[in-house]
């Protein structure tokens, strides 16, 4: 097992190199970083532009340029943002922390309620409860977040204020303007709406996964064996049913968490939530190459990492899978 993990980690190095190389080409072709720099800094001297090209590895030759960028990236010589020469790492770190917080909250809430709903639906397939949960899940999946977000903002901020004098949940940011320091209560209040929006999608999807996975398991022969032992329905469901039904769901969950790091673009934009999504939108809009490349590295790394976690969890849950 340990050897497998080490080998996978070793393999992720060439994967990272290849993917970042492709991303490097795509950004250079798609955004033309040198032009963006000149546009943002119209009075930059020739020497300044050359310095920008050197530190970012923006040579005319893509291969040479890429390795130059790689060397500077690894040695920590990160170029500052094209706008105002801000340092990249603090901005990226904050964005990661904010997205991880939102993503974790939404994933925990979403997967928990999604699994409960899926189990309740699968216990009596075709019953009223099943139909209700299924219909809600389809509604939840079909309403895009930019619509549900606006509806919730209207309800909890605009109308709430009209009815009760003040809004229940704020509609943007992580803290009120001017706030400094850490305040858990404020943070929860500000995170509530975006968390709900993301969680609705997760609940809807996972109730579907869990329902079909558990139904599959419920009809299997070993469930009949379990029933023929005369053990309680509760034990049959948890020890024999859930234990097997969770195997594919946990695997999908691990993959989903990996992609959520960069996948909250719409929600973060609507709520002006300063996470990875908003970071990407802003820097991509300005063609800010120094901000974009590290973002891409983080996204690729998180996807590779959670793919590995998915495989490990699969082997851990299912004794038939042995990682060699």
């Amino acid at each position: 097992m340990l050897r497998y993990i080490l080998r996978r980690l070793a393999w992720s190095v060439p994967t990272m190199l290849l993917v970042t190389f492709l991303v490097y080409i795509a950004l250079r072709v798609g955004t033309d970083p040198v032009e963006s720099y000149k546009r943002v800094n119209p009075r930059a001297s020739r020497a300044k532009v050359q310095q920008y090209i050197d530190i970012n590895g923006l040579d005319p030759n893509f291969v040479q340029g890429y390795f130059k960028w790689l060397k500077n990236f690894i040695t920590g010589e990160w170029a500052p943002s094209i706008k105002g020469r801000r340092e990249v790492w603090p901005a990226l770190k904050d964005a990661m922390a904010n997205t991880l917080r939102l993503g974790t909250a939404a994933t925990v809430v979403g997967i928990f309620f999604g699994l409960v709903a899926g189990v309740l639906a699968a216990l009596r397939p075709g019953g009223k409860r099943d139909v209700f949960i299924n219909t809600s899940a389809f509604v939840g999946i079909s309403i895009p977040p930019f619509i549900s977000a606006i509806l919730l903002q209207l309800l909890f901020a605009v109308y709430w204020q009209r009815w009760f004098g003040e809004s229940l949940f704020p509609t943007s940011g992580v803290y009120p303007a001017g706030h400094t320091g850490f305040n858990l209560f404020l943070m929860i209040k500000f995170m509530a709406l975006p968390t709900i929006i993301v969680a609705i999608q997760i609940i809807a999807t996972y109730s579907r996964y869990m329902r079909s996975s558990l139904l599959d398991v419920m009809n299997s022969d070993y469930m009949r064996t379990a029933r023929s032992k005369g053990i309680s329905e509760r034990r049959i469901l948890i020890k024999h049913g859930m234990r097997n039904a969770l195997i594919p769901v946990v695997t999908i969950a691990a993959l989903d968490v990996g992609s959520i790091v960069g996948g909250l673009i719409i929600t973060e934009n609507i709520f002006a939530y300063p996470g990875m999504g908003l970071y990407f939108l802003k820097s991509f809009g300005e063609g800010d190459f120094p901000l974009l490349m590290p973002w891409m590295v983080v996204i690729v790394a998180s996807i590779l990492l959670f793919n590995l976690i998915a495989d490990i969890s699969y082997a851990w849950l299912d004794p038939r899978i042995r990682l060699e």
Binding site: Y222, R224, G230, R243, I247, L317, D318, R320
Partner: protein
């Protein structure tokens, strides 16, 4: 006369299907005596499995079950779920057809046996684990203490069936129902599994109901045989009587269709099994019966003693003597 451990009277099972109610079992009477091995034979859809799933209370809720099933004097039809749970695995247990899928893939073999023990006896986990290893030894699994820690996928089909037998006999039940236990296995493994079942029957005095479509299996191990067709018993008797001079035309057809050395051609029963949504009137076998008369279309026969056998055929007395095939 020995003690009857299982008495089934007028058992009927009906399923609601889109094309109307389907009566899969249409009034079965059957006794199982303590310690005997009763074979139940019939083709697919004859209701043999459904009858015993109904006895175990393992049919889906949409199945309607009526009649009477007495297990060691206790009525099982209409009993509460709680009571049925206390009966299943303790007084009566079941072995299923496909050993490859009947064990939970994610739990260790030893734990799956212990679970059966602990759900009906107050045993510590340690004692249950020890007993599980003994049971694996009884059903003939080598190195049982190592094997108990393994998972089902590390066992062959025959070995898995032995494990399932170990689970089924864990609480020393009065009746063991074996539903086609050898159908999914190689012929050589089949013989071993039958031996294990016979050994269990001898050692613990368990009554065994062996459900199969394979007369060869029945001939090898059964004391008595019950032949089913279209959800009814058509003939029952001891193994020797039934094989020597079967009375019912269906039983005769089954025996004639067995392959034997020196026999040039098999003689199949013509026609197809009946559609149970709309079964034939009278004797359900009459459309396929070479001796059918008009009366067979109207009268549904019940089991009547005929010689040493009990036969459900109104023409049993008039039929030509069965010629023992060579």
């Amino acid at each position: 006369m020995t003690e009857k451990v299982l008495e089934i009277r007028d058992l009927r099972v009906t399923f609601d299907t889109p094309s109307g109610p389907l009566e899969a079992v249409r009034g079965i009477d059957l006794d199982v005596e303590a310690g005997e091995l009763l074979g139940v034979v019939g083709e697919s859809g004859s209701g043999k499995s459904v009858s015993f799933l109904a006895t175990m209370g393992l049919l889906p809720a949409r199945a309607r079950v009526t009649g009477s099933v007495l297990l060691a004097g206790e009525q099982l039809i209409g009993a509460s779920n709680k009571f049925m749970r206390s009966v299943r695995g303790r007084l009566i247990s079941m072995i299923f057809q496909d050993p490859l899928s009947a064990l939970n893939p994610v739990h260790r073999i030893g734990d799956q046996i212990s679970e059966m023990l602990q759900s009906h006896q107050s045993l510590s986990s340690r004692d249950a684990a020890k007993r599980a290893i003994e049971l694996l030894d009884i059903v003939g699994i080598p190195q049982p203490d190592d094997r108990a820690r393994q998972y089902p996928h590390e066992f062959s089909g025959g070995m898995r069936q032995r494990v399932i037998i170990a689970i089924a006999i864990a609480n020393n039940p009065k009746v063991l129902i074996a539903d086609e236990p050898t159908t999914a296995l190689d012929v050589t493994v089949q013989a071993q599994i039958l031996e294990v079942i016979e050994r269990v029957q001898d050692r613990f005095g368990t009554a065994v109901v062996l459900i199969t479509h394979d007369l060869g299996v029945i001939a090898r191990v059964a004391d008595r045989v019950n032949v089913m067709y279209a959800g009814r018993n058509v003939e029952q008797g001891t193994i020797n009587d039934l094989f020597d001079h079967p009375s019912h035309p269906y039983t005769r057809g089954l025996l004639a269709s067995l392959p034997r050395p020196g026999k040039q051609r098999l003689k199949p029963i013509t026609g197809f099994p009946p559609n149970m949504v709309n079964p034939p009137s009278g004797c359900a076998f009459h459309p396929r019966c070479e001796f059918a008369a008009d009366i067979c279309k109207f009268e549904m026969p019940s089991l009547v003693s005929y010689g040493d056998l009990q036969t459900a055929c109104v023409r049993a007395r008039e039929l030509p003597k069965h010629e023992r095939f060579v």
